[in-house]
């Protein structure tokens, strides 16, 4: 087994926010009666605000600092989304637990078993390149470590050692001189070790196991066993769900739709990763905008062809978002999909020339429908009904159908027949054509249709109503 650990030192902040600001921003957590800084953005670091600092001290140092409350639920949700995303790189993905203790909150991590995947991706270098390319799109701060055990890989990641340690022996040799602090132990144990003068991992590993357990508890002994691989480290493996349902809660209100595009971009890239992991695509998915104390606003995204391209998803979402009126500020996002289909591009024979064009057509129609509304972009179909207004219907573009036969018809039809008002006497060119029908659906018509010419050259399609209404009406143009 070879484990790749993706350590996420900024997860408490990045689970709540997907883009950085220039203003100092920290995530804080309560413990006892005090509030402590869990982590902060680069601007907060420049303002000398450090993790584990008392928030009151931080306020004194930098009065303009903005604060978000730590949310373990948001971190869990982010790890779950990431696990679904990571499944495209490995079939064994282990999402780490979110530590409740705020001092260890920066040790959030995710593991992938990569021994089996390296060959598939064309070797180690290509695998890491592909992983980092995709991971970069999600805007998380991360560190990678590769080792023979879960804890070993995590330790290497936190230490910033990007050298593969294939065996426990190599791992032990490499981590000997690392400080104890990198182990992310419980604060009490770390404190006790510090007092005892054990400063490096090498020193700790040299201590007799029984003495370690007696002095620092069985927990530390077990941890060291798992670290160097002398004990197994069974953990629940992530299972790819059949449906996709991801959440992203901000814990603050977002008023502008423009600002929603940052978290949406991350979610759509994660979603695309999930689709690649399942080796499928999607034709419909729903984005839900959560509001405080009100029902969420759903936004359905439909595609003509199954797809899994995050950038195309984003284009459609952006177009639709421009026309969406949100009733209240957004405090979270949901993305759900339950029906999947193989993307057409992968399904069909790639040598088939028209395929690319079909796909381009589908993408163009999707873009048009996203901006103008699906009901405003449609094809036409004939209906076997003699009444002109019932002899056509708007329909999606589709394969040819048998066409009913009618006498010659004008190219323009009016939405509603218009009472005919003419200042000059028209010239009747042909007619009448009697059209009756519709008594079965209460759209009963009895009409005599004529073709009329006006002096300006227009040819009109008019009818005389023979029913109760009576009168002459304009119904179309022979354009």
């Amino acid at each position: 087994m070879l484990w790749l650990c993706i350590a996420l030192p900024q997860l408490p902040l990045e689970a709540l926010r997907s883009e950085d600001t220039d203003a100092p921003l920290v995530v804080a957590a309560c413990e006892g009666s005090a509030r402590w800084i869990v982590c902060g953005n680069p601007a907060a670091h420049s303002a000398r605000l450090k993790p584990d600092m008392n928030y009151t001290v931080a306020l004194a140092l930098c009065p303009t600092v903005q604060k978000l409350e730590r949310s373990a639920a948001a971190e869990t949700a982010a790890l779950e989304r990431l696990a679904a995303w990571a499944y495209q790189f490995s079939s064994t993905v282990i999402p780490g637990e979110v530590p409740l203790d705020f001092r260890r909150a920066r040790s959030g991590a995710l593991w992938l078993e990569i021994g089996g995947s390296l060959k598939l991706f064309g070797g180690f270098r290509d695998f890491i390149a592909a992983l980092e390319r995709e991971l970069g799109l999600l805007h998380y701060s991360y560190q990678l470590g590769i080792g023979p055990t879960l804890e070993g890989a995590a330790l290497l990641a936190r230490s910033g050692i990007r050298v593969v340690m294939p065996s426990p022996a190599a791992l032990q040799l490499r981590i000997r001189n690392l400080p104890i602090a990198l182990l992310a132990l419980e604060p009490e144990i770390a404190g006790a070790l510090h007092t005892a003068g054990v400063r490096t991992i090498g020193l700790l590993l040299e201590l007799p196991r029984d003495a370690v357990i007696k002095r620092f508890g069985v927990q530390l002994g077990n941890f060291l066993d798992r670290l160097v691989g002398t004990a197994a480290d069974p953990r629940p493996v992530f299972r790819l769900p059949a449906r996709y349902a991801a959440r992203f809660d901000f814990e603050f209100e977002v008023k502008s739709t423009e600002a929603l595009l940052f978290p949406l971009r991350r979610m759509l890239h994660e979603f695309a990763g999930f689709l690649r992991a399942r080796d499928t695509g999607v034709q419909r998915f729903t984005i839900t905008f959560a509001h405080r104390g009100a029902a969420g606003t759903p936004m359905a995204i439909g595609l003509s062809l199954a797809d899994r391209d995050a950038n195309r998803f984003l284009t459609l979402v952006r177009e639709q978002l421009e026309h969406l009126e949100l009733p209240a500020p957004t405090i979270g996002l949901g993305l759900a999909a339950d029906q999947f289909a193989m993307p057409a591009a992968l399904q069909a024979d790639l040598t088939h020339g028209s395929l690319q064009q079909n796909e381009e057509l589908a993408h163009t129609i999707d873009r048009l429908a996203a901006r103008l509304g699906a009901q405003h972009v449609h094809g036409l179909r004939q209906v076997a009904d003699h009444r002109p207004e019932a002899s056509w219907t708007a329909a999606p573009l589709q394969a040819a159908r048998a066409t009913p036969q009618f006498p010659e018809r004008p190219l323009w039809l009016l939405q509603e027949p218009k009472p005919l008002q003419l200042s000059v006497v028209p010239q009747i060119v042909s007619g009448p054509e009697r059209i009756e029908g519709g008594w079965w659906d209460s759209g009963d018509v009895q009409r005599n249709y004529y073709v009329m010419h006006l002096s300006n050259g227009s040819s009109l399609w008019v009818y005389q109503d023979l029913g109760e209404r009576g009168g002459w009406y304009l119904h179309g143009f022979w354009s």
Partner: protein, 208 residues
């Protein structure tokens, strides 16, 4: 292709680009009209302005032979913001394959132009017919570029008043019905003669 080759290729394109490629022509289907149009038909990848004097004089019928051929050849046709319902039975009678016809309804001027440009840019569309509320020179040039990129022909229906103004469109035709024929006045024609009038014996619709 390495850098030097790319540069050479670009230089070649600059020298030969526009003149080397013969324009693709889509016959209009009207012999009299084809005779005066350069190349003998609608030039693919350009914008054509059609300015009828009234509704219902055969302004749409003029394009029917081309639309029938384009849709039968497997390409699509879009109607953007048509003023009335494009009547499916009639289109079908003119040989237009309905399954390759897309109707886009848009109200706002910028949406109409945007949808026209998007359709022109897509290589699946052979022709795009649009009824823009207003259109400026700059926008026509933009549509012209889109038509070139997508290899489709854009037909803009404009009011007859626009015939008096200048426009960057490659071909501008004023349409009026005189007795039983459709008279087409060539207001502007890139690479051809302007000021020509041609009468098309479009069957006086509905009186067959």
């Amino acid at each position: 292709m390495n850098r030097a080759e790319t540069l050479q290729h670009l230089a070649w394109l600059c020298r030969n680009g526009r003149t080397a490629v013969a324009p693709v022509i889509e016959a209009s289907g009207w012999t009299e009209l084809d005779a005066v149009l350069p190349g003998g038909g609608w030039q693919v990848g350009t914008i054509v302005e059609l300015m009828p004097t009234a509704v219902g004089i055969g302004e749409l019928q003029l394009l029917m032979p081309a639309l029938a051929r384009i849709t039968s050849a497997g390409r699509h046709v879009t109607l953007v913001a048509p003023p009335y319902i494009p009547f499916a039975p009639a289109l079908s009678q003119h040989g237009v394959r309905l399954e390759r016809l897309l109707v886009i309804q848009a109200q706002r001027a910028e949406d109409i132009l945007w949808a026209t440009e998007q359709s022109l840019r897509c290589r699946s569309f052979g022709a795009v017919l649009a009824w823009p509320a207003t259109v400026r020179d700059r926008e026509i040039r933009r549509l012209q570029l889109a038509a070139e990129a997508g290899g489709s022909t854009g037909f803009l229906y404009r009011s007859v008043d626009a015939a008096r103004e200048a426009s960057p469109a490659a071909l501008r035709l004023k349409l009026q019905r005189i007795a039983n024929v459709l008279q087409i006045d060539v207001v502007k024609c890139r690479g051809g003669r302007r000021g020509v009038s041609v009468q098309v014996a479009a069957p006086c619709s509905g009186c067959a």
